[in-house]
Assembly symmetry: C2
């Protein structure tokens, strides 16, 4: 059984203000929940329709009916389990190596995919502007496929942070230098912009290294690259000589 109060609390966690008020978030599906359990995330409570998760104390889990899972799930087709976790304290920024900075990226699927790419390419730090979508949004947690446990994410005043960093700052722009012909350093901050508007003017002014992913084809009519696929191509270029 899931009580009415529990349903109310868990569904409220789909909204950022209630996540902040309660300092809780939730994840769905065996794989993601297991990765969170194995990392330093503190379990509040696990709801599962199966006799699984043997390592979780009985006091911390409830066996529930599929119909109850539907009531608390954020998915159209609920998985077999949902777990509520405490939002951990933000860790200090790892101000070295390759860092991805997100300037108002709004789509949960995009930031989820970007965290997964960072995980793949060994990027340990993502810095987000305050307007970037919250990583504890259930859709982000889902899209990261567990990478949320391995990439450090901080929300900062991005223009301020970037104006003070000693690392070289890169951004992609239509008129930037061909990324394939640029010497890319091992340590840098790479700024990825908003889905509709790209990199904001304030950040553009302080971004000294302007890159561009060349567009091919006779017509060159392709609109643009999605911010997540562009991040993949850029990370691949920064890392390819180290492989």
């Amino acid at each position: 059984m899931v009580s009415k109060n529990q349903i109310k609390l868990i569904t409220s966690l789909q909204q950022k203000k209630y996540r902040i008020a309660n300092q809780l978030f939730f994840a769905e599906g065996v794989k993601v929940i297991q990765e969170l359990l194995q990392s330093n995330f503190e379990l509040e409570h696990l709801y599962t329709t199966q006799h699984d998760f043997d390592t979780v104390l009985d006091s911390k889990k409830s066996l529930i009916h599929e119909n109850d899972l539907k009531k608390i799930s954020a998915l159209t087709t609920p998985n077999s389990c949902l777990a509520v976790f405490k939002i951990p304290e933000e860790k200090p920024i790892i101000a070295s190596g390759l860092i991805i900075a997100l300037d108002d990226v709004r789509d949960p699927g995009n930031i989820g995919t970007i965290l997964r790419l960072c995980d793949w390419f060994g990027v340990k730090q993502v810095i987000c502007s305050k307007e970037t979508v919250d990583i504890y949004n259930p859709k982000v947690v889902q899209a990261t496929m567990g990478s949320i446990t391995r990439v450090n994410v901080n929300y900062v005043d991005l223009p301020e942070y970037i104006s003070q960093t000693e690392l070289p700052v890169f951004g992609t722009f239509m008129d930037g230098e061909n990324i394939y012909k640029t010497n890319l350093p091992k340590e840098a901050i790479v700024v990825m912009g908003n889905e509709a508007n790209g990199i904001s003017e304030t950040i553009e002014e302080i971004t000294k290294n302007r890159l561009s992913i060349p567009r091919f084809g006779d017509l060159q009519q392709a609109e643009s690259l999605n911010v997540a696929t562009a991040t993949g191509i850029i990370l691949s270029e920064f890392k390819r000589n180290l492989a």
Copy 2:
């Protein structure tokens, strides 16, 4: 006004069998519809809530109320317009240059993003296995952002096609050769696999060139790359020396 029969027809086009039966599909939003109109797609009928699309004959368009648009739209938040188009005849396969082959890619967002990437990188031909999601699925049409008009897509018996081609065939596998250290040809077929299972056994057997996108980081725990972001990285590698 949209008649009950029109609502029934248009909503039925969300399903492949009715798209095939009627040889119709629909697109939503000014940008995508305009790109389809400017290309060789034959308009069946346009439904719009605005006084726009001046070039479309009055007999081919209806000014409708937002509430009616909601009834025919496949989107949670409908745009301002929806247009029904005839499904064009399949054009012959362009059997040269760089070709992307999709081996049972199922997610509409993924194939949409892949077509957008092909458009960006000047790839003119995509070959799909019969089980790959239909490109006239409304979610695919939406995700391509107009690229559907510039990339030729054919559905074929993929194992048969690949076993007969004279082009070199590449695929990505966990144990493949480091893609960053491989000489990649200008002309090739690159196979991208299913989201859950990767490239099928039948196709794997006839794929002579095994590539791998190296994984970085100390732990190397990242699960996998999404098929669309992997396609972006691979296309970038095949094209980077030509930019």
